[in-house]
Amino acid sequence: MMTAEISASASLAGAEAGRLVLPSYERPAPGVHPPLDFEGYRSTALRHPKQPLVLLPHRLTEVTGPLLGHELIIPTDSDLTTQYDGEPQGQRIIVTGRVLDSDGRPVPDTLIEIWQTNAGGRYRHWREHHPAPLDPNFGGLGRCLTDAGGRYRFVTIQPGSYPWGNHYNAWRPAHIHFSLFGRAFTQRLVTQMYFPGDPLLPLDPIFNSVPDEKARQRLVARFDIELTQPEWALGYEWDIVLRGRDGTVFE
């Protein structure tokens, strides 16, 4: 049980007299998130803090967060195969699942943003040098809001693998980048979804930077024949779990 009892100062504009009780969010167990310093991923070398992180108790700024998206979303945002005049090349897939917190509660109305390569492993980005063709009918960008049950659904194209120069003959396994807000600053998550059976997974430093084997496997979607639509698209299911509340809020 962790709650913060907060007495509002009468001198604060807008603060009401009395006691404020805030939720506190679960702290991830060791091994779930990658270390910031990971030798196998070279770019971490000069970009990880060397001083220990300072513990920040969850206060008002951390237990609130941006609730965004309603004004951003248009219906084609969640179908990456219909954003251009023609149909993109590649294997059509459906990627769906729920956004939950670690108490098992759905996270409704939360913005998900995704980006990915085309079928040939090429990002539509000015910095991209991989000599695979661009697809004039594929941008690789999606977004949606979860529904009341925390569910999301994208229709897209199976992304490709691409070389990335981290080490000799380094190739990224196929993946889709996901960005999520949840409902609190503490729940913000940027991650990547991978595909089952990808032979590059055991070789990828970024995937393998997650120390805990079970946690790492949670980055891999599940192929589901029930979600697969006959004569149309393969179905994958991937649930995303954000930090839950650590204690019960009560008066």
Binding site: A13, L60, S102, I206
Partner: protein, 195 residues
Amino acid sequence: MKDDTTVPGLTPSQTVGPYFSMRLPWPDGPFVVPEGTPRAITVVGRLYDGAGNIIPDGLIETWQAGPDGRFAHPDDPRGATPGGYQSFRGFGRCPTAPDGSYRIVTLKPGPLPASDGNIEAPHLDVSVFARGLLDRVVTRMYFPDEPAANAADPVLCSISAPKRRATLVAVPEPEGQLRFDIFLQGERETVFFDV
């Protein structure tokens, strides 16, 4: 009680990578309030690595209370900002430019009540994402014109070394801007928090 057989495990973080700028920047992302809003402030800064090089492929996000010290959020137990999200979004997002710089236009937040009768000085929570960061790093920006409030702030007070604490306070610039440079590593390494 949590039942360990039914509690789903957390999804791990992965790096935002070099190509997030396809998706994550929004045209109005850096503008928590529109430019020209009365009493708007501009926060500028650069993002640096441990060799002192600028980082041109980072993403800075800010989250904060409004000038009244309230949030456009239902979990603020004092109630959400009157007018809610439409009156003050509270969230800024800016990718770093080829020169490593970012710029956020916002309003100065008010102070916040904290535990034990303390008051948190006005601050922004700041997340940094980049290629080479396997998880976001989180820091806070405080305001240089609040020396008394900063001296009493429970988070600043939890950092004993004055040089380290100073990394969290923006520097005023002649044009009225505030400069908040972020050093991921090195001699001037910014204080980052375990949230």
